[in-house]
């Protein structure tokens, strides 16, 4: 089992409030991602779960047991660090053995030389060796066992760090931006490997990242944190399609969501630029932010009451997609539009384009940044 519950967790360093009354329930076997911009407190939260940091108030429950007073080493969690934190003076094998030796050997058996006289040590060593071999085969690092961390590449160190976490078969894995030191190609590859690993281990993963792409690709649920507050906790698709607030909408998704200033009139009709939305807002007579993702805008030849025009300032060709950064005519906005290469490859910087939106995709936010729903009518 590996359920983790955080109840009313707050943390402050001196007068700085880092975490604000957080409540999270992590299910057994779940891949939960804590995602947010740097400095939002996500790493602190992970360290509180690990027991490396003490919360100012609130409770941490692991498998429904309160572990507020339990030391990090006794919580039976394993952690993978951003810098991997392998013991630089030990071989890979010894690095993998260390958590097992500390768990299995008693104090006498850990003594150098005379510890070997303990009768039970031989069996324990045998089982440790088996576990290390099994783990290193799973992670394909068997041939690295006699090397020191300094002789490994970044990707290999990453695997060893994972291995050191895995050997102990903990109730949950905690990962603190484990992929951020890898190069881009390897990072994408490791994402799929981590997901596979999670599927085969079926253990709870709590994963911290500032990269919303990692959160979207790997997690079963993601928790978006900004400035010490938990803004939304849901499946990646739901967070992407249905962000609860403007900050979440802006944080999740790359390129960023386009935000237009608009208004809702007394009947709830939402208008921005020269366009009116078909659906009606549940809040009327107010200024609104209208969010439309780049893939929900299209470059078109039509020009009517549903389109608006602008000048292409910059074109970002990714091969499969081209993103156009467009200055809207009234000068208020710079927006990003996705175009398919086969239709838009001839459009160059400085051209005038008409833009139309895909209907039923706009998101509304009020002045406070909270989500405003459309009425069903």
């Amino acid at each position: 089992m590996g359920t983790i519950s955080l109840k009313n967790i707050s943390k402050s360093f001196g007068s700085t409030q880092v975490l604000n009354n957080l409540n999270v329930d992590i299910n057994d076997g779940e891949f939960l991602t804590l995602v947010g911009p740097s400095g939002c407190g996500k790493s602190t939260l992970l360290r509180i779960i690990a027991g490396l940091e003490q919360q100012t108030s609130g409770d941490v429950l692991i498998d429904n047991k309160n572990v507020n007073r339990v030391r990090a080493s006794e919580r039976d969690l394993a952690m993978v660090f951003q810098s991997y934190a392998l013991y630089p003076h030990l071989t890979v094998r010894r690095n993998l053995e260390t958590p097992l030796r500390l768990r299995d050997y008693n104090a006498f058996e850990r003594l150098p030389l005379i510890g070997n006289f303990s009768p039970s040590k031989k069996d324990k060593t045998e089982s440790i060796n088996q576990l290390v071999n099994k783990t290193s085969e799973t992670l394909k690092i068997s041939e690295l066992l006699d090397r020191k961390p300094g002789q490994l590449s970044g990707g290999q160190r990453q695997r060893v760090a994972l291995g050191r976490a895995m050997v102990r078969e903990p109730v949950a894995f905690l990962m603190d931006e484990p992929l951020s030191n890898l190069d881009a190609a390897l990072r994408v590859h490791m994402r799929s490997e981590l997901s596979e690993l999670h599927n085969s281990l079926k253990t709870t993963f709590v994963y911290v990242t500032h990269d919303q792409a990692e959160a979207l690709t790997m997690s079963s649920r993601m928790a978006v944190m900004i400035d010490g507050n938990l803004l939304q906790l849901d499946t990646p698709q739901e967070v992407y399609d249905n962000p609860s607030s403007l900050s979440v909408a802006q944080f999740v998704g790359s390129p960023k969501i386009n935000i237009f200033k608009g208004t809702a009139d007394s009947s709830g009709t939402v208008g921005f630029l020269n366009v009116n939305l078909k659906r009606k807002s549940s809040e009327s007579n107010t200024d609104l932010h209208i969010g439309i993702r780049p893939e929900h805008l299209e470059i078109t030849n039509e020009s009517n009451e549903n389109t608006f025009s602008g000048t292409v300032a910059y074109r970002e060709n990714l091969g499969s997609d081209i993103f156009f950064h467009v200055n809207i005519e009234d000068g208020s906005n710079k927006i990003i539009v996705r175009g398919l290469p086969q239709f838009t490859h001839q459009i160059s910087n400085g051209s005038n384009v008409n833009i139309k939106r895909v209907s039923d995709k706009a998101l509304l936010f009020n002045q406070a940044g909270m989500r405003v729903q459309f009425t069903n009518a």
């Binding site: 660090f81 810098s83 934190a85 013991y87 630089p88 003076h89 958590p99 768990r103 961390p149």
Partner: protein, 297 residues
């Protein structure tokens, strides 16, 4: 490379070579005098090793050895007589016992201290650290007398304890190791905690191995300082020759009825200096190898 650059490099090397000669000269004199006869030393003749003529040495005969025993080449005589006159192996052993005990206890104290000051958060940490810095400013000679009185009261004068105890807490060691520990990433310590290590285990199994280069630097400071120390042993070892450290032993060759005989004296000094030089050369190699933290980033 351009000719100009050669000249520039040449100047640098010329200056460095002059500096090296100035530093090496006393050592050259020491080795040379330990090989030559008294006459050659006093007349400043004979180059590095002298003529090495077999001769009978008068001081030796005066001390009570037969003329036959006292007839040999100068280099043989100098070293043989140095060991005959004073129990040099005993002095060397005392030196080893004292310096090693001091160093080991210093490490036992300094490492946990430095770890706490560098990596643990506790109330008053900054104050404790500022006291460490303050203690660095106190000269040893300033507190020698009170220390002596305390040791005398405790009845420890003329014991190994008197030589070792006052030096077991090295604020310099604490400071040096603390500065080094500051550079060890916190994540490594957190990883060790997650693996189940206690704080003492972290000090000895994680911090110590990563700190080997700093520890070696400290070892050189500590061992050289206490191996060569003359002042403190002279104060607390008042009579018992069995407790003499090497510098006190060398003093045996000065003055007295035999007049100053430089050959055996220099031979004893060479014997006392060589272990240090050898230790330094061995340590220097490890220094450069070191266990780096490159595996961390």
């Amino acid at each position: 490379m351009e000719a100009k650059q050669y000249i520039g490099e040449g100047w640098k090397h010329a200056i460095l070579i002059i500096g090296a000669i100035v530093v090496m000269l006393p050592f050259y004199m020491m080795v040379s005098m330990s090989l030559k006869s008294q006459q050659e030393i006093q007349s400043i003749s004979g180059g590095l090793i002298g003529a090495q003529e077999t001769q009978t040495f008068p001081v030796c005969v005066k001390t009570g050895y037969s003329e036959e025993t006292c007839t040999m080449k100068p280099y043989q005589y100098n070293y043989w007589f140095a060991f005959e006159k004073a129990p040099i192996p005993r002095y060397l052993m005392n030196g080893v016992i004292v310096t090693l005990s001091i160093f080991i206890i210093q490490v036992l104290v300094a490492l946990p201290c430095a770890y706490a000051l560098a990596k643990l958060r506790f109330y008053g940490r900054e104050f404790v650290f500022s006291m460490v810095l303050f203690c660095l400013l106190i000269p040893v000679h300033g507190i020698a007398l009170p220390l002596y009185v305390m040791l005398a009261q405790a009845g420890l004068v003329d014991t190994y304890s008197a030589l070792i105890l006052p030096w077991t807490i090295s604020v310099f060691g604490i400071f040096l190791m603390r500065q080094f520990f500051m550079t060890v990433p916190d994540e490594l310590i957190d990883a060790a905690r997650m693996d189940g290590m206690g704080e003492y285990a972290i000090v000895w199994k994680v911090m110590l191995p990563t700190a080997i280069p700093a520890l070696l630097a400290f070892a050189i400071f500590s061992v050289v300082a206490h191996w060569n120390d003359y002042f403190w042993p002279r104060m607390v070892i008042t009579g018992n020759r069995d407790l003499f450290t090497p510098p006190l032993g060398i003093r045996e060759f000065r003055g007295g009825i035999d007049s100053d005989e430089f050959g055996p004296m220099m031979a004893s000094i060479v014997t006392v200096t060589v272990p240090l030089i050898v230790a330094f050369i061995i340590a220097q190699k490890r220094f450069i190898e070191g266990i780096t933290l490159t595996g961390m980033k």
